[in-house]
Amino acid sequence: MASRFDVRSQPGFGTVAMFTFVLLYLPIATLVAYAFNASESVTVWGGFSLRWFVEASQNAAVQDAAWRSFVIALSAATMATIAATMAAIATTRTAPYPGLSAKYAFINLPLMVPEIVTAVALLIVFSRVKVWTGYSGLGYLVVAHTAFCIPFAYLPIRARLEGMDASLERAAADLYATPWMAFRRVTLPLLRPGIIAGFMLAFVISLDDVVITEFVKSGGQDTLPTYMLGQIRRAVTPEVNAIATAFLALSILIVTAFFFINRKKS
């Protein structure tokens, strides 16, 4: 009896799967559809139009928030990737020692700590720092984003390093390459796909963040997600749908690129 059991044909499996798909994707499909609505409503269809895309792209506040999101994501992803690369090398190119797994956990802690906890903690610390330094620029957001992006950049880079034959680096050293030259000429070129993947993952995660950004940002520092959140609290127009749709398209683009880069090299 047990040997006849087929995991693919359990009763109710199909129904559950259908419900899951519908519940996951129908709202998104609706959101995307209404981005092309000609009317002012997000629920009543008034014909096809690109009007809200045009309006969103001409809205100074949207432009401002989009640019800010981009700057923060680019800086945070860059810094996170550099830190993650160094951490990945330090934790893989070493003989195992007591405390190494504690280090793994420590690096990946941001994945486990509830975002709201990090958000409140950063709010408290940064508000003190703001008082002491008088600085209230984008730096706080960049630092906060870098912090929670590091594990996302770290994981693909570490995976790549672990899959790499360590004797290649030994061969470089054997052939008169100093540690720095061995890194530049052998480790880095071979690590590139992992680094690009880590960077893109960090970039998307930063772009998408609401909770921490909402807590840390000063007045007038809306990113695209927090701007949208603010808009929804007021009168909702399909402009929000249009922004969300553009966002979705961008995310899909980046994740697809991520997928292809990873596949090509493995």
Binding site: D165, S167, L168, R170, A171, A172, A173, D174, L175, Y176, A177, T178, P179, M181, A182, R185, V186, P189, L190
Partner: protein, 368 residues
């Protein structure tokens, strides 16, 4: 050390002095090398031979600079290099896995060492061309290293390690991944390259046949110790102890007792009461009960007489020769190897009574 087969005035390329290597610390420390001392002469094809886990690779990695000795010194042409990092040692390695750089072409792989040394462009071009020619890979210079076969990868690895003209070339079981025929070819190639370049080769293998056919001298290792150093002839014909005798080729072990000396040889009495002359392994105790070794091809099966007698237990035909397994009183089996004559059987069948005639000077008394 075993008898030198070359003039002693040759300079030593590598000298390992009292090398101890321990992995781990305290009571749980694992002793991978236990007071190893070896001298490798210039232009020599020197082989470290032993079963896996005997410490041969650890010793090689220490010469390369990937491991540091817990105790002892490693000298290169008389200079202590034990504390130098690998990239400061004029020693190159052919890795077991080849470790070719997958993102570089064959040409760039071979040029890597010279580029790191900062050699001028023209010199690098010329040297890489010479190396490609040496390993017969001229047509594949532009290929990526994942587009070549195992045998070709092996040649590129060799060319890459030889290109910077190292003082010593280390080879870590480089032929183990090749199939039988290719391995035979590469053994000859390696000897040719060593001859043409005049570089000292230090070769690590667990394959005794490979060691015997390629080496000028062999160090047999077991459990972190060097048991015997000598020419292939020394190692095969005059094994120092039971491990060496057993590890290299097939051997018969006989219990015997020493009864006297004559002309540099020991006279021993075998269990049958027969007396034979035997050579004495270095460090062997020349008295009391000893173990004597005789190679199967140094004994003959005879119908009558002989030093030992027994009954034929098995006859195994090998084409070029026949092995006759003979049960002798005391429960041991003695193997005799006889060359086959054309269209003629060995003349013995299972169950026959048979005598064993041991050739003069064929026996050696082992060190315990």
């Amino acid at each position: 050390m075993a008898a030198p087969d070359r003039p002693q005035d040759k300079r030593n390329a590598i000298e390992a002095k009292g090398i101890v290597k321990e992995f781990g610390q305290g009571a749980s420390a694992l002793r991978a090398l236990d007071n190893v001392s070896i001298s490798i002469r210039e232009n020599e094809f020197f082989t470290l031979l032993g079963p896996s886990g005997c410490g041969k690779t650890t010793l090689l990695r220490m010469i390369a600079g990937f491991e540091y000795p817990t105790e002892g010194a490693i000298l290169l042409h008389g200079e202590d290099i034990a504390s130098l990092p690998p990239f400061r040692r004029p020693i190159n390695t052919v890795f077991q896995s080849y470790a070719l750089f997958p993102h570089l072409s064959v040409w760039d792989n071979i040029a890597f060492g010279l580029q790191m040394l900062g050699r001028p462009r023209a010199e690098i071009d010329a040297r890489v061309a010479t190396m490609l020619k040496l390993v017969r890979m001229e047509e594949l210079a532009k290929r990526r290293t994942d587009q070549i076969s195992g045998g070709q990868a092996q040649r590129v690895a060799l060319a890459r390690a030889l290109a910077p003209s190292p003082k010593v070339l280390l080879l870590d079981e480089p032929l183990s991944a090749l199939d039988y025929k290719l391995r035979k070819e590469m053994q000859i190639e390696l000897k040719r390259m060593q001859h043409e370049t005049g570089i000292t080769f230090v070769f690590v293998t667990h394959d005794q046949e490979e060691a015997l056919t390629m080496s000028d001298r062999i160090a047999v290792m077991s459990k972190g110790r060097v048991l015997q150093v000598g020419s292939p002839w020394d190692i095969y014909d005059k094994p120092a102890d039971r491990f060496v005798a057993d590890f290299i080729g097939e051997t018969n072990f006989l219990a015997a007792s020493v009864i006297g000396f004559s002309e540099g040889l020991v006279r021993v009495r075998l269990s049958s009461g027969a007396e034979i002359a035997a050579t004495l392994a270095e460090g062997a105790r020349p008295g009391g009960d000893v173990t004597v070794v005789v190679r199967p091809e140094h004994a003959r099966a005879v119908k009558e007489g002989g030093h030992l007698s027994g009954t034929v237990e098995n006859v195994v035909y090998f084409g070029t020769d026949t092995h006759i397994h003979i049960r002798i009183p005391g429960g041991e089996t003695f193997t005799v190897r006889q060359q086959n004559a054309r269209a003629q059987s060995c003349g013995f069948a299972i169950g026959d009574a048979v005598g064993i005639d041991i050739a003069a000077d064929a026996a050696q008394v082992l060190r315990d």
